[in-house]
């Protein structure tokens, strides 16, 4: 069912190119915990403009820090509301599915990789530690 959601957001009709949506998803997804790579991940994040990349990282890691000015600047740069809607959903979904995969990986006993998007600190951001803590629930 999650595959259907991902397929709809990344490959369904939209204003943003499907390749861009896949790149956004892959960037927000973060590092994989297991070698069974997803096709979305393999497309990489190389074709994302720097201002958009900064926004995607914010949505993925600290969505509560998004401000009106962030969207205003991206609109000023020529992105339509629909493109920004699709990019935002792709980024949020990528971050969510990435955490889901890593959480399920932790339940399978796989080591969790460091977060490549977190450049300032070696400790994981709050949502990742939340995913890990959530993963221990099954042991109660």
């Amino acid at each position: 069912m999650v595959e259907r959601l991902v397929e709809s957001v990344l490959a369904g009709p939209g204003q943003a190119a499907s390749e861009l949506r896949r790149a956004v998803f892959a960037r927000a997804f973060g590092p994989l915990s297991s070698p069974r790579s997803r096709t979305e991940r393999a497309t990489g994040g190389e074709d994302i403009a720097p201002d958009l990349a900064g926004y995607i990282d914010k949505v993925a890691l600290h969505a509560y820090e998004v401000r009106d000015e962030d969207l205003a600047a991206l609109k000023q740069a020529g992105n339509s509301d629909d493109v920004l809607f699709e990019v935002t959903v792709s980024a949020a979904l990528g971050a969510a599915v990435g955490r889901l995969e890593r959480g399920l990986g932790a339940l399978r006993g796989e080591a969790s990789p460091p977060d490549s998007l977190s450049t300032t600190s070696s400790s994981p951001p709050v949502p990742l530690s939340a995913a890990r803590r959530g993963g221990t629930q099954e042991q109660r």
Partner: protein, 81 residues
């Protein structure tokens, strides 16, 4: 809502549903609902299907436990509900 299209750009069917929600609840429609109703075939519909399955479908966890997980995770994400 920061994107005008997601605030006001809904198609007729979704606009009527939003109106109904506003009238029945006598409150402003939450942004998350507006987001789910904007171009629902793109995101809202498959997202709701998934949410329904995860939160209400067959599971060893009770509905209450699952809601607690969701609230706890949202709290850590600094997104209260």
């Amino acid at each position: 809502m920061r994107l005008a299209a997601v605030e006001h750009g809904h198609r007729l069917a979704q606009r009527l549903k939003l109106l109904l929600i506003r009238v029945v609840s006598m409150r402003r429609v939450p942004d998350v609902v507006k987001t789910l109703f904007y171009r629902p075939e793109f995101f809202g519909r498959p997202m709701c299907d998934w949410t329904q399955a995860v939160m209400r479908g067959p599971s060893p966890w009770s509905v209450g436990e699952r809601e607690l997980f969701a609230a706890f995770t949202s709290r850590l994400n600094q997104c209260l509900f």
